[in-house]
């Protein structure tokens, strides 16, 4: 009594649980049992046990839990259920067969037939099925299932014709009726795929071409149906399994058990259609099928399949579909594609599916319009899964799993890189690759890619540390330290770091191969830049010496490199060996005649030799090849001022302003206002109000690095200025775009202001300086020019105050020190002025202006040292270029 009671309770509770969600199964059971009962005349003896056990069996068959079926069979046997038919035998056969298939996944994948001799389970299953089919002691529904299992047996044994024949005997319509148990959808998918695969395997033996293409058509239609059925099955399974167990799942291991392992035939059912299309070269139809599949609402069982399919589609899109031939995801492939692939229409139009799976809604959601958009979307979806599945633990017994998951993820990141790089999205790419780091310990490829993406996204600090880590993994690769050195030099101004990195390549010697001269170049550039920054003469000389050595070595190792030759010439010029610099510069120009920096250097060298006319000709040649280069234009202004006076130079300044506008100001090009009719006084006010941000689009990550380093001044100074300007300038938020654009504009205004001052037109000069200070109010160059203007107007106290401010920001600024010193001397504070000028001479020992100003200071107090200073100044002036050689950027 007690046992009955308990059993009954258990059955009741189970029934309650199943009732809501498993209605199809239960009702199916009922109808079946009515039928069964009539036949066997055991109506009064249908117990809850039987219902419960059969429901359980169906669930296990739906969830592919083959091992658990055995236990249920035992229980049925014990409860003497299905004693008089072959139900138990059928379950046994299925359980054994599927178990055997699971164990031989690899053989199946390679299509190698399974041998009865070596596969006892297969042998037993086949025996059972033979018995069932010969005895015929089952309802048609179960006989149908037995036929299907037999087809499976034939297939895995390599008897494709038999398998096909068996499939033909299966009543598929039996499996497609409404109110079917969930596992029938699985069987349906398997039936289709077995038929399709069997046909596919037989194509080789078919002789006639017409027959062959008919076969191909038929197998493809089987695959397409198999896929839809499999997807529907997985969706149904989700409904059945998840709903009743939400609460239970938390405390029991049921949840993880539900992550079903799809068997070979289910996987084949899901994949065969697109694989077959792609394999036959039908790219468009294959892609179309992949899209159809991916638009099916995700289910728990389909996740890993979706991952593979999404990656496959992304791969097809990125490798074989160009922008012009792209068609959007919701439409059929264009007829041109289909025509090329020899198909008249897309396949889904011809083969309506039996039970279409549910798809994502198409309204109010993102639908890609571009091949890269679609690929990136798919890859982001894949990435979210692949990075989650990545195995982190590093136990030896999980090495294989770890390797597999890593490869999985790597392939996604590679495709993501291909897609995003095409659109210049390096910043976003670097964020994605950063996410991969948590499972990429010691994986060189992903680290390397992360470093490169950070570098491309101009995230210098991160890139350097990643490259250093890469170099630790591959110490034999010379490119890694050099990549880091390049960032250190061009972007971060970490010269010590850059030199150390390049020295590691230098110390590799011959091993570094073609990178050796570049490593010497890097060392040379670092030393040269450090020399320019050094405040002590001894340090400076030492750095200059080492720079020259390294650059000479680089040049001798690779005389064909125009860059190295140019930088050697630049180094010689920096130490004022003007005529010696000409030789390597000629080599550089003969290798690359239109190189910007070489032509600029030649201009400066000619100006240092006081051949201004030749210098200007060279400059004009350089400008004909690089018309938008502001650095060249600034040199032109200086040359013209020296040759023709400030008025002529102002003409060039105006030209520069126009260039700046046409190049950087996008808003202007869309407007056609002629503002020159508005009076000047009003104009400032109007324009204050009319300032507006004009660009709403984000710029891509590619940057114009060549114009990035206009100013030779130290980074610390420019950072300080930027910070100060941010604080003080309320309109800074309106100023958009890279800083160098605005620095350029500031410099143009200041240059114009200087020219107006030397033309004694102080009002105009003031206007220009005001413009500059509107951009960067706390810039030391602005403060210097304001000071000079005040000085010219005789407001000496104000001038001194402004020079003081400028010095506070840039304590070693050559021209600030010189003007400050002169002002002090002029206003009678000779000793203090002398001190300032001595400082100037100390830091800028090749500045002839500093020396001559010091001479004047000394002369004013009748010092005997004055003539020496004048002599030095004269000597230096003889080799002084029109603008300092340091205006030529030194970058790797």
């Amino acid at each position: 009594m007690s046992t009955f009671q308990r059993e009954n309770d258990a059955a009741k509770s189970l029934f309650r649980r199943l009732e809501s969600a498993v209605t199809p199964i239960v009702s199916g059971e009922y109808s079946h049992h009515h039928h069964h009962r009539d036949r066997t005349a055991m109506a009064s003896r249908v117990s809850f046990t039987q219902i419960r056990l059969e429901a359980e069996m169906e669930r296990y068959r739906a969830e592919c839990q083959w091992d658990k079926m055995l236990a249920v069979i035992e229980q049925m046997h014990a409860a003497r259920i299905h004693e008089d038919d072959d139900y138990g035998m059928l379950m046994m056969a299925e359980s054994l067969l599927e178990d055997c298939l699971q164990e031989n996944m690899d053989l199946l994948r390679r299509s190698s037939p399974l041998m009865e001799k070596t596969q006892p389970k297969l042998c037993r299953a086949k025996g059972y099925l033979n018995t069932i089919l010969s005895q015929g002691r089952l309802a048609p529904r179960y006989l149908n299932e037995a036929l299907l299992l037999m087809a499976k047996v034939h297939y895995v044994q390599g008897r494709y014709r038999d398998a096909q024949g068996m499939c033909a005997r299966v009543g598929l319509e039996e499996l497609t009726l409404d109110e079917q148990p969930t596992y029938h959808l699985r069987l349906l998918a398997e039936a289709f795929v077995i038929k399709g695969l069997s046909l596919d395997h037989q194509t080789v033996s078919a002789v006639s071409r017409v027959r062959l293409s008919e076969r191909e058509e038929e197998s493809l239609s089987c695959f397409l149906r198999a896929c839809d059925a499999a997807l529907s099955y997985l969706q149904e399974l989700d409904k059945v399994v998840t709903t009743p167990h939400v609460k239970a799942a938390k405390s029991s291991p049921l949840m993880s058990a539900v992550d079903i392992d799809l068997g070979y035939f289910l996987q084949a059912a899901l994949q065969s259609a697109y694989l077959c299309l792609l394999h036959r070269g039908h790219l468009a139809q294959g892609a179309h099928q992949l899209r159809r599949v991916l638009r099916v609402v995700e289910s728990r069982g389909s996740q890993s399949f979706r991952k593979a399919a999404a990656r496959k589609l992304a791969e097809v899109l990125l490798s074989s579909v160009s922008e012009d031939s792209y068609w959007p995801p919701l439409g059929p492939p264009p007829s041109a594609w289909l025509h090329r692939e020899g198909a008249a229409a897309s396949k889904d139009a011809i083969y309506p599916t039996v039970k279409p799976p549910q798809r994502y809604s198409t309204d109010c959601c993102f639908c890609p319009q571009d091949v890269v958009e679609e690929a990136v979307l798919l890859l982001l979806i894949t990435e979210s899964m692949a990075s989650g599945d990545a195995v982190i633990s590093r136990l030896p017994d999980q090495a294989d799993a770890r390797q597999a998951s890593l490869q999985d993820a790597t392939s996604v990141y590679d495709l993501l890189t291909i897609g995003m790089a095409r659109r210049g999205q390096y910043a976003m790419l670097s964020e994605c690759l950063e996410r991969a780091m948590k499972f990429s310990f010691n994986e060189f490829h992903l680290w390397h890619q992360l470093g490169l993406s950070l570098m491309a996204a101009r995230k210098g600090v991160g890139a350097v540390s990643v490259f250093k880590e890469c170099a630790r993994m591959r110490p034999e690769d010379p490119s890694l330290p050099l990549l880091a050195a390049k960032i250190c030099i061009s972007q971060l101004h970490w010269f010590d770091e850059a030199e150390a990195l390049s020295q590691t390549v230098v110390s590799m010697g011959e091993e570094a191969g073609e990178f050796l001269p570049r490593a010497f170049l890097a060392v040379g550039l670092c030393c040269s830049l450090q020399a320019s920054d050094a405040s002590l003469k001894a340090d400076r000389d030492e750095f200059n010496k080492r720079a020259l050595q390294a650059l000479k070595k680089a040049h001798s190792l690779d005389p064909q490199d125009a860059h190295i030759a140019m930088y050697l010439a630049l180094q010689l010029a920096l130490i004022r060996q003007v005529s010696a610099a000409m030789e390597p510069l000629q080599a550089a120009l003969s290798l690359c005649g239109d190189d910007l920096q070489s032509l600029h250097l030649l201009t400066l060298l000619l100006s240092a030799q006081k051949h201004h006319r030749h210098a200007l000709d060279t400059l004009n040649l350089a400008l004909s090849q690089h018309p938008d280069n502001f650095n060249l234009l600034f040199t032109k202004v200086k040359l013209e001022e020296a040759m023709f006076g400030p008025a002529a130079a102002l003409q060039t300044c105006e030209e520069m302003l126009q260039r700046w506008q046409s190049r950087y100001d996008v808003s202007r090009s869309s407007e056609t206002d002629d503002s020159s009719s508005i009076p000047m006084a009003e104009r400032t006010e109007v324009s204050q109000g009319a300032r507006k941000p004009s660009i709403h689009l984000t710029l891509p990550d590619f940057q114009d690095a060549s114009t990035g380093s206009l100013s030779p001044s130290t980074v610390a100074v420019s950072r300080l200025e930027a910070a100060l300007s941010e604080v003080s300038d309320i309109s800074s938020s309106r100023r958009q775009g890279p800083t160098y654009i605005w620095t350029t504009l500031e410099h143009i205004w200041l240059q114009a202001g200087e020219l107006f001052m030397s033309d004694s037109r102080l009002k105009e000069a003031q206007f220009c300086i005001a413009e500059a200070s509107a951009i960067f109010p706390s810039s030391h160059s602005v403060l210097l020019q304001r000071g000079r203007l005040a000085e010219l107007r005789g407001q000496l106290d104000e001038a001194k105050g402004l020079y003081d401010e400028a010095l506070a920001i840039h304590p070693t600024g050559e021209r600030i020190l010189v003007h400050m010193g002169r002002l002090l001397v002029k206003s009678g504070r000779v000793h203090l002025g002398e001190k300032v000028l001595r400082d100037a001479v100390q830091v800028h020992s090749i500045s002839h202006e500093a020396w001559s100003s010091l001479g004047e200071a000394l002369q004013s107090r009748d010092s005997s040292q004055a003539p020496d200073c004048f002599l030095t100044a004269l000597e230096l002036e003889a080799s002084c270029p029109i603008r300092p050689f340091t205006v030529i950027p030194r970058e790797l």
Binding site: F366, S411, L415, R435, H448, L483, V666, E764
Partner: protein, 503 residues
């Protein structure tokens, strides 16, 4: 050049001129039936000194200008060959022969940078985001993994410009050469699916030569053409690699992989991150797939086999997701406060670092990140740190206020585990000019006028002479055809200025 080829080309030159407008599309479709024509045209382009080069370039431009897609693609197929011709000639300092090729390329460029209405064309695309539903996914199904990282949320469907607006160009200069050529390759790449295998081969050869000429690798490839080094830019190489990728996956395995290696070689020497990034990715993705099975039969298809969809990750393996799962379970456990549950969780946690903290074993290492910030902590210490202070139940919520226990502990974990890869450089925003400077410059220019009127500086006339230097026979056709659309106003392509200027 054989007389037969010459005949074919001459016939082609004459027939299009007499073609009525209505017959253009049928003519375009019939072009591919002329088997001898395309090889003959390649010969003309390769022989720099051919008399036919000028008319051929002219005709190719006419094709492009016709707007008929098939005719445009006919012209585009020669683009790699034309680029190589231009680059090799300019490297050899022999400008007079490439004049008409320059004009043709500039002509295509100037047509392509404007849209139908003569406005500057801006190519943009939408950055997809997982936080917005799409035809392929539902944000709720993605799980918090990718979304709470915050990275994707920042990128909610923003539209990004990847090319343009570009300026009209009248001549090639050292400054604009690669800008123009890169854009032309972008146009070519957009039409890759329509390109013939000859054109793809030509692209691969172009890539190889541009990258290795003048370097020791040139001997290895046994290419005997010019031996001067050619300047390249990273963007240009990225475009080349995009084309090579297509060639590699669509039948040109041998030439394609050679070209890819050559481009990577050069990108390494030049330390170009962008080109290296894409090149490495392509190499790595092809490593397992296409290169393995190198049968020619698989042209324009992808080699496939039935592979398992899930790499059977053993259930007890710790994955990035399962680690988070563990954490969540633990939080629930704290909520329930049941000692049994806690016990369960601690077992799970032991699973994460199964090494334990036995005296004879090295302490378990959390090797999630890298050696720079490798963290050595016992499992217990770790557990303690994670369990501390967790009270709230919002396991599915985004880590909102940082003060909640989980967020805080997670925060500390993250900050330790992850490399801090913050950049010192702020991302630049689009530039804008204030109208202050605009109006101010007007003031400025007026003051300049005063200056200029008094003292005229010697004008540099280089621009004028420059225009003449690259002129070519396209001018002979007069100016009638030079406006792409009748209703263009002031933004018409300045190509007319160029071609007509020194008649």
């Amino acid at each position: 050049m054989l007389a037969m080829d010459q005949g074919v080309v001459e016939e082609w030159l004459s027939e299009f001129k007499t073609l009525p407008d209505s017959a253009v599309s049928t003519y375009a479709a019939s072009l591919k039936d002329k088997g001898a024509l395309v090889p003959a045209l390649y010969k003309v382009i390769r022989e720099n000194y051919s008399d036919l080069l000028e008319p051929v370039c002219h005709q190719l431009f006419e094709f492009y200008r016709s707007g008929e897609p098939q005719l445009q693609r006919f012209t585009l197929q020669f683009l790699p060959e034309l680029l190589w011709s231009l680059l090799s000639v300019s490297a050899a300092r022999d400008p007079h022969t490439s004049g008409c090729i320059e004009a043709l390329l500039l002509g295509i460029y100037n047509l392509e940078i404007v849209d139908k209405d003569g406005q500057s064309k801006v190519l943009s695309f939408t950055v997809p985001s997982l936080s917005k539903p799409s035809v392929y996914h539902e944000p709720s199904a993605i799980g918090s993994m990718a979304l709470t990282e915050g990275a994707l949320a920042n990128h909610g469907l923003s539209r990004v410009v990847y090319s343009g607006p570009h300026l009209q160009r009248e001549t090639f200069t050292a400054q604009n050469r690669f800008e123009v050529l890169t854009f032309l390759l972008l146009c070519y790449n957009a039409a890759l699916s329509y390109m013939t295998s000859t054109s793809l081969q030509s692209l691969c050869q172009l890539s190889s030569r541009v990258c290795i000429c003048g370097y020791p690798r040139q001997q290895m490839r046994r290419y005997k053409g010019i031996n001067a080094r050619l300047t390249v830019t990273s963007e240009f190489l990225v475009q080349l690699i995009t084309g090579i990728h297509y060639a590699l996956c669509n039948g040109e395995v041998e030439l394609g992989s050679k070209a890819l290696d050559d481009v990577l070689y050069r990108s390494q020497l030049e330390l170009f991150p962008e080109a290296l990034l894409v090149g490495n990715a392509i190499k790595s993705s092809l490593h397992g797939a296409a290169l393995k099975s190198n049968n020619k039969e698989g042209a324009r298809s992808i080699q496939v086999e039935i592979t398992p969809t899930s790499s059977r990750i053993s259930r007890n393996a710790v994955t990035s997701l399962s680690i988070r799962g563990h954490r969540w379970k633990r939080h629930d456990a704290v909520d329930l406060g049941s000692p049994d549950e806690l016990m369960d969780i601690s077992e799970v946690d032991e699973g994460v670092w199964p090494g334990g903290v036995g005296p004879d074993m090295t302490p378990p290492t959390i090797t999630i990140s890298n050696s720079v910030t490798t963290l050595n902590l016992g499992a217990k210490a770790m557990k303690k740190c994670r369990l501390g202070g967790r009270t709230s139940k919002d396991k599915d919520k985004e880590p909102g206020p940082l003060t909640t226990g989980r967020a805080a502990s997670e925060n500390t974990e993250l900050s330790v585990k992850r490399l801090t890869l913050t950049s010192s450089q702020s991302v630049p925003k689009a530039g804008a000019l204030t109208s202050l400077t605009r109006t101010a410059s007007a003031v400025f220019s007026r003051s300049f006028e005063q200056v200029a009127s008094g003292n005229a500086p010697p004008a540099s006339n280089h621009t004028a002479s420059e225009v003449g230097r690259y002129s070519c026979s396209l001018q002979e056709e007069g100016m009638g055809y030079l406006s792409p659309t009748p209703n263009h106003t002031q933004r018409s392509p300045s190509i007319s200025v160029h071609f007509g200027s020194d008649l």
